[in-house]
């Protein structure tokens, strides 16, 4: 199980714009660096990040090798109704990681 840290408020006022910050452990090997034996290390990156609120996709990001190791992403969301924020990262070699956060809207 991947190590993931998500910072999102557990409760929010209806209509409030809340910030969501997410950090995931991943080496983000670029595919351009030589390893100790001089051979290029094969690329191993997260390519895609998506955030859905219940069933609606609200934000996504296509990543390149230029995204830093242990990628950090922050974005905003309108707290329209109580629901589950579902974050998902996918990448090379079948990498998949997910995290869910319940947000109660009052």
């Amino acid at each position: 199980m991947a190590n993931i840290l998500v910072n999102a408020p557990k409760t929010a006022k209806r209509g409030a714009v809340i910030e969501i910050k997410a950090l995931i452990m991943h080496q983000m090997e670029t595919g351009f660096r030589p390893g100790p034996n001089g051979q290029i290390l094969p690329r191993n990156i997260i390519e895609h990040f998506t955030a859905t609120w219940d069933d609606a996709e609200i934000f996504s990001m296509e990543m390149s090798p230029a995204i830093s190791a242990n990628p950090f992403v922050s974005f905003f969301a309108v707290a329209s109704e109580s629901g589950t924020l579902h974050l998902r990262w996918t990448g090379d070699h079948g990498f998949v990681a997910e995290e869910k956060v319940a947000i109660a809207v009052e």
């Binding site: 190590n3 840290l5 910050k21 452990m25 190791a69 242990n70």
Partner: protein
Amino acid sequence: MRARYFAIALFLVFGASFALAQSQGQSQRGSGADTRRSGYQDMGPALQQMQDDDTANPGMLFVQQGSKLWSARVGVAGKACADCHGDAATSMKGVAARYPAIPPGADRPVDLEGRIDLCRTERQQAPAFAHDSQDSLALQAFVAAQSRGQPIAPPDDPRLSSWRVQGEEIYRRRQGQLNLSCAICHDENAGKKLAGVTIPQAHPTGYPVYRLEWQGLGSLRRRLRNCLFGIRAELYPVGAPEYVALELYLMERAKGMTMEAPAVRP
């Protein structure tokens, strides 16, 4: 009228004695203020913010991994760290600030990595972690994070004196093809630039640190090896006691400074 004069006089007396107490307090702390600086203070605001925000500090990912290891039952004994030590927030508070130390029944000091490995081999009956393995660093980061904000408090153990003397001797000895000592950079030239980066005073306040150069978490030993390599000196073997001696000296030198693991450094 008299009452008013009395009140003013009383105010002056209190004010004067307060000022006197302040100045005495300052002089008792030695000549002048503490000029020691954490490497944190030499970083730009972008990296300081990265360290300060727990969801932005990549070192916190390793702390999270360490917290899972803390409660994982391992070894022949099938025990977790938590089975003996309970809640790390209380049992581990200030512990990393005291290491290296001599464990009960032993005759030589161990660093935090060595202490964790003793628990593994003796209590959990599990194999020791490989040096600088991610699991070892993660557990060290989790333990060290419990001491965030605590002052570095080296143990008052007379048996450590000879080790600290050895550590200081290494710190001051010129070595390597560049014929430099630790002290030449980190005492005599700290605050000046080397290859565009400010030379820090080398206080180990934040280990294990997330170093951007490493794109990962690393130990003080790894950093010391970088320095030795930088001056083209022969590296001590990875498990050598010289690293523990150096750490003992550096922690004594940083006594009272604030623990900030997992720190972020360039």
